[in-house]
C-alpha cells in the first residue's frame, strides 16, 4: 500500500471514529433525558427508519418530493444560467433583473410559500419554491464567473473569429465552472431545505414534508428524526450525483 493510500485510509478511519463518537454522545444524551417525546437516540431513530423503509408510503413520499424538488432545481438552474448569460451580454438586462434577483434573495421562503399556496395550491409547491430559491444563486454565481472571464482571451477569440461554441467550451467554461460548481452545490442544499419546508407548510399529501408534519402531530419523535435523516441522505445523494455528472462532462479540459 502506498503512503498516499495509507493517508486516505487513516483519514477515513478518523472520520468514522469521529462520527461514532457523536452518535455515542447523542445516545448518551437521549438516555439521560429519558423522554421519547423530547429526544430519541440513534438506536430508536434507526429502528423507526427501518420500519418506515418497508412501507410503500415512505418510498412514494420520497419519489413525490424528489421529483418536485429535482424538477424545481433543474428549471431554476437552467433559468438562472440563461438569464446570467443574457445579463452578461446585455448590460440593460442585468440592470433590469437586479431588483428582481434582490427580491428573490431577500424575501423569506415562508412568504413565497404562503403566496404560492394562494396562487397555485399545494400540489407542486415544492417545485416552485425550490426553483425560486435556486434561480438567484445560479444567476449570481454564473454571472460572477462570466464577468471573471479573461478579457484578453476574449479579444484573442474575437481577432481569430473563434467559433462561438469553441469560445464557450475553451474560454468561458474554464472560468465559469468553479463558480457554477459552487453555485450548484449551494443551491442543491437550499432546494431541499426550502422544498421540504414548503411541504411542511403546504401539506401536500404523500410528500416527505407531510410525513415530517404527521410525525410532529403524533409526537413520533423517532419518525421525525427518521424523516430528517432520509431528507439529508437523499439530498446528499443528489448532490453527489449532480457533481459527478458535472465534473465528468463540464469539468474536463
Amino acid at each position: 500500500m502506498t503512503d498516499f493510500m495509507k493517508k486516505i485510509k487513516s483519514a477515513e478511519y478518523k472520520s468514522i471514529f469521529i462520527v461514532l463518537i457523536w452518535l455515542f454522545v447523542w445516545q448518551l444524551i437521549s438516555v439521560t433525558v429519558h423522554n421519547k417525546v423530547l429526544l430519541v437516540g440513534p438506536v430508536e431513530t434507526v429502528g423507526a427508519l427501518s420500519k418506515m423503509f418497508l412501507t410503500e408510503e415512505y418510498r412514494s413520499s420520497i419519489a413525490f418530493s424528489l421529483m418536485r424538488i429535482i424538477g424545481g432545481f433543474f428549471l431554476g438552474s437552467i433559468l438562472g444560467i440563461l438569464l446570467a448569460w443574457a445579463s452578461y451580454r446585455v448590460k440593460m438586462i442585468e440592470d433590469f433583473l437586479e431588483p428582481a434577483i434582490l427580491v428573490l434573495k431577500a424575501v423569506p421562503v415562508a412568504s413565497f410559500v404562503i403566496l404560492l399556496l394562494i396562487w397555485a395550491g399545494n400540489k407542486i409547491l415544492a417545485f416552485y419554491i425550490s426553483m425560486l430559491v435556486v434561480l438567484p444563486v445560479l444567476y449570481l454565481n454564473t454571472l460572477g464567473g462570466l464577468k471573471a472571464t479573461d478579457v484578453k482571451l476574449l479579444e484573442m477569440a474575437e481577432v481569430f473569429r473563434m467559433p462561438s461554441l469553441r469560445r464557450i467550451r475553451y474560454i468561458y467554461m474554464p472560468s465559469v465552472y468553479p463558480y457554477l460548481r459552487t453555485g450548484l452545490q449551494m443551491a442543491l442544499g437550499m432546494a431541499w431545505k426550502s422544498g421540504v419546508a414548503a411541504e411542511v407548510i403546504g401539506q401536500p399529501l404523500g410528500s416527505m414534508g407531510n410525513g415530517l408534519y404527521q410525525a410532529k402531530i403524533y409526537l413520533e419523535t423517532a419518525e421525525l428524526f427518521a424523516w430528517t435523516i432520509s431528507i439529508i441522505f437523499v439530498s446528499f445523494l443528489m448532490e453527489k450525483a449532480v457533481l459527478i455528472v458535472m465534473d465528468k462532462t463540464l469539468g474536463r479540459g
Binding site: 479579444e155 481577432v159 481569430f160 475553451y170 474554464p174 479540459g253
Partner: protein, 199 residues
C-alpha cells in the same frame, strides 16, 4: 488591395496616444511589410489594436480599396501575435492552434508547430512550456489561418538569437503575400521593411 490608415487619432482619458497617423499598405507592392518603431508607451500597441479591429480610432479611419470599390477596414481578417501570448493554458500547443482556428486541422497544426518546436512540446498543456516556446505557439497560431493582414507586437520576446532567426525565417516563409505590421524594439535579423516611426 490598398489598406489606408487615414489620420488615426486615439485619446485615452484626455491623453492623446495617437495623433493623425496616416500610412498605406499596398498588398501587391514589394514594400507592403511595415516595421513599427518608437519608444515604449508611444502608442504602437494601440495602433496595432486598431489595425486588428479591437479598438476604433477617435478620429480617422481605415479604408480598404479593392479595384474601384472602397469600404471601411474593420472587417479585415487579422492574424495577430499579441504583446502577451494569450494562449489557452490548459490546452496543448496543437489544440491551441487548431481550436482557435476552425480552418486549421490538428494534423496541419502539428506539422507547422514542428517547424519551430521540439516534438515533445506539442502535446503538453502550454502552461508547462517555457516562455519562448509559448511565444512560438502564439506565432504559429497567428500565421496559419487565412487572413488579410498579419499583426505582430514584439513577437520575439523571450527567444534566444538562434530561435529568433529560425522564427523570423518561418514567419517570412509562411506569411505569403499577406502584409505584416510588426512592432519590435529589436530589429536584428529582420529583412528590410518599410519603417513607420511613432514619435
Amino acid at each position: 488591395m490598398l489598406i489606408f490608415f487615414k489620420d488615426i487619432t486615439k485619446i485615452y482619458d484626455k491623453n492623446q496616444v495617437l495623433k493623425n497617423i496616416s500610412f498605406e499598405i499596398d498588398t501587391n507592392a514589394d514594400n507592403k511589410d511595415i516595421l513599427l518603431r518608437g519608444p515604449s508607451g508611444i502608442g504602437k500597441t494601440t495602433l496595432l489594436r486598431i489595425a486588428a479591429g479591437l479598438e476604433r480610432p477617435d478620429e480617422g479611419n481605415i479604408e480598404i480599396t479593392m479595384g474601384e470599390a472602397a469600404h471601411g477596414g474593420y472587417g479585415l481578417r487579422a492574424g495577430m501575435v499579441f504583446q502577451e501570448n494569450r494562449l489557452l493554458e490548459h490546452l496543448s500547443a496543437v489544440d491551441n492552434v487548431s481550436c482557435v482556428n476552425a480552418s486549421v486541422s490538428r494534423q496541419r497544426a502539428r506539422a507547422e508547430l514542428l517547424e519551430v518546436l521540439p516534438e515533445e512540446a506539442l502535446d503538453k498543456p502550454v502552461r508547462e512550456l517555457s516562455g519562448g516556446m509559448k511565444r512560438r505557439v502564439a506565432i504559429v497560431r497567428a500565421i496559419l489561418p487565412p487572413s488579410d493582414l498579419l499583426i505582430m507586437d514584439e513577437p520575439f520576446t523571450g527567444l534566444d538569437a538562434e530561435t529568433r532567426e529560425k522564427v523570423i525565417r518561418y514567419i517570412m516563409d509562411r506569411k505569403g503575400k499577406r502584409p505584416l505590421i510588426l512592432a519590435s524594439h529589436d530589429v536584428e535579423g529582420l529583412p528590410p521593411m518599410r519603417e513607420l516611426i511613432l514619435k
